[in-house]
Symmetry: C2
DNA sequence: GAATTGTGAGCGCTCACAATT
DNA sequence: GAATTGTGAGCGCTCACAATT
């Protein structure tokens, strides 16, 4: 490994002071034009890059943000939800020159990251944050640490939270199902340890009731593909009379679809299936689902964090959901079986769904 | 923001030297048992975390690794391939306490990251690395920088590369198709700027020829969903006689499936479709594809990088691919249309496919 | 002499202030 | 006095070596 070039090396070669080089490289206007030119030319020649650790130490800023995904299941990364979230975050972080440190540890040490100055701020996926852990995060935020949560339980705290209003999407789905003649639904929930999953289940039931449908059965899953398949098998074994199945997320819906296909049950002929998230594969499979703009969620979170880092007050824009009808809830026989015809376009379309 | 606790604070409170505290915290055996206990207790009480920048500066190691995904398309993150790769990398990096800095910039400055000491080593997705950029990476590696590439063109360089042998998978797919009676195939390639995509196209053609099938047409895509759909529309418009379509990756295959469904063409009745990668949605959709163990690829890459960081010589285990027959290449009418029955199990099964 | 602790320099920057033209 | 450059301390650690019991 070649010894790295330092500020002092440049200064020695040019016969100026370290600080002059430092200023010239940062484009400080109080440095003479010719000096600056000389410095920058030499820096280019020697391929000089300021040492990040030294800079971080003096500036007391790491220039890095952390993305924390508490691993509630093995499937954090496998869920396309994550990819889309990261893409949104990245699209805002990149122009701001803020590299992203990711963690999906079982018990992520974000406090350590912050305390050690490894990152200047955090975005935490808060879908399953509760109790002590949530309080810890709130305390951090209250003490002035730049922390933004996605989907953390909303409460009157100083923790900036980005989330979306699920109401419109859930209601839209249920109205659609009621119109198709469904009267009985089954709800498949995410892990009961997640406040977010519980809210979703309650939301599905509330929306169903509002359009006159009855929830016959609630099956608990854990947001994974496998649990969706298992839930479907349970419902089939019970010979449920529910003709519409409302899932806590798309991943479980995919699992349910596979189990239904394996059992030879027709979708949407025998059972209608609706998911939540509208992740990429949903359009491919033709899954009817509730679009929540995961990418936009990531963008908003990063924008909010960036504001906090500049000591500004973030104004996260409230996102709204909407129902996206596709094959799995179409009137039986209307669409060809494998048609993933999504009226809304392809899977990568990420419409900006904002209010105000 | 509360002022952070430093080593000096601890030392002052305990009436010992900074270095003693430093050693005690690192568990240095030459520190007395009681001193160590006192130090560690106080550190716990004050929630002390050593400053990462200061530590990195003195140790000359950042304790961070970089993951670079040159963004050849908008869809790096949207491709589930990425999630699975990151999951593999993360599963090895986490126990080694190496946080991961990710970048998917259009022109990622990995040299800068390395030069600035922001990361100690890099994993670079090299599918589209060529020419000058590839040479730059090779130079870095030759000079002793810990760099591991995934899918970089193999050549006798010092650049450690993790990849998989595509032969068995491609041949397996073609044998399967030939057995089903297919005689004419069409190949849809990834971007021509990618050596990896070109090798794939050549591989499909070679394998087809070997089992006696003829490649009637080659259509160029760019590895995205949309380009797969566009390629399918092109083939349909041309009324190709090819009954088996071989795609450069799963994402394009998903696009092709959607376009075929939209056109009312039956799969596999009229056309058989085969992808490559075996990413999560493949099993859901029932896409016949070549499994390449993306997760394992990530694990191997991280293991190799970890070896380099310890100045060891990495021994990446060669991975092999295998064909996974599913619905889209099944004998017409054999499987129910929506059956995503994968003989190999669900989408999250990631069998370790290793030789030796 | 072995076990334990302290001293002091240095890692490579930035920033306030002083000094020069 | 305005424009430009230099001085020196300090950020918070670690490590070689010295000093103490």
């Amino acid at each position: 490994m070649v010894r790295k070039v330092t500020l002092q090396d440049l200064a020695d070669r040019l016969g100026v002071a370290r600080s002059t080089v430092s200023r010239a490289l940062r484009g400080d206007p109080q440095i003479g034009v010719d000096t600056r030119a000389r410095v920058q030319r030499l820096a280019g020649e020697l391929d000089y890059h300021p040492n990040a650790a030294a800079r971080a130490l003096t500036r007391r800023r790491a220039g890095v943000v952390g993305l924390v995904l508490p691993r509630t299941s093995r499937f954090v990364f496998s869920n396309p939800y994550f990819s889309e979230l990261l893409e949104g975050i990245s699209s805002v972080a990149e122009p701001a020159e803020l590299p992203i440190l990711v963690s999906a540890a079982v018990r992520p040490d974000y406090v350590g990251w912050l305390r050690a100055g490894r990152v200047d701020g955090l975005i935490v996926l808060g879908s399953s944050l509760e109790g002590e852990e949530l309080r810890l995060l709130e305390t951090l935020a209250a003490k002035g640490s730049p922390v933004v949560s996605i989907h953390a339980p909303s409460a009157p705290t100083s923790l900036v939270t980005v989330t979306s209003d699920e109401g419109p999407g859930l209601l839209g789905a249920c109205e659609h199902l009621a119109l198709l003649g469904h009267e009985h639904v089954a709800v498949v929930t995410g892990p009961p340890t997640s406040h977010y999953a519980r809210a979703r289940a309650a939301g599905w039931k509330g929306a169903s009731a509002r359009v006159g449908m009855t929830t016959l059965r609630t099956v608990h899953g854990d947001d994974t593909f496998a649990s969706g398949a298992a839930a479907a098998r349970t419902l089939l074994a019970e010979r449920t009379a529910a003709t519409a199945w409302l899932l806590g997320n798309d991943l479980m819906a995919f699992g349910a679809l596979q189990a239904l296909a394996d059992a030879g049950v027709r979708v949407p002929g025998d059972v209608a299936v609706v998911g939540f998230d509208d992740v990429m594969p949903a359009a491919v499979v033709g899954l009817s689902t509730v679009h929540q703009g995961v990418r936009t969620l990531g963008e908003e979170a990063m924008r909010a964090l960036h504001a906090l880092l500049r000591s500004a007050t973030p104004q996260p824009i409230p996102l709204v959901t909407r129902f996206v009808p596709r094959r799995t809830s179409a009137p039986s026989g209307l669409a060809p079986p494998t048609a993933a015809r999504a009226a809304e376009g392809g899977p990568f379309e990420t419409p900006v769904t904002r209010t105000r």
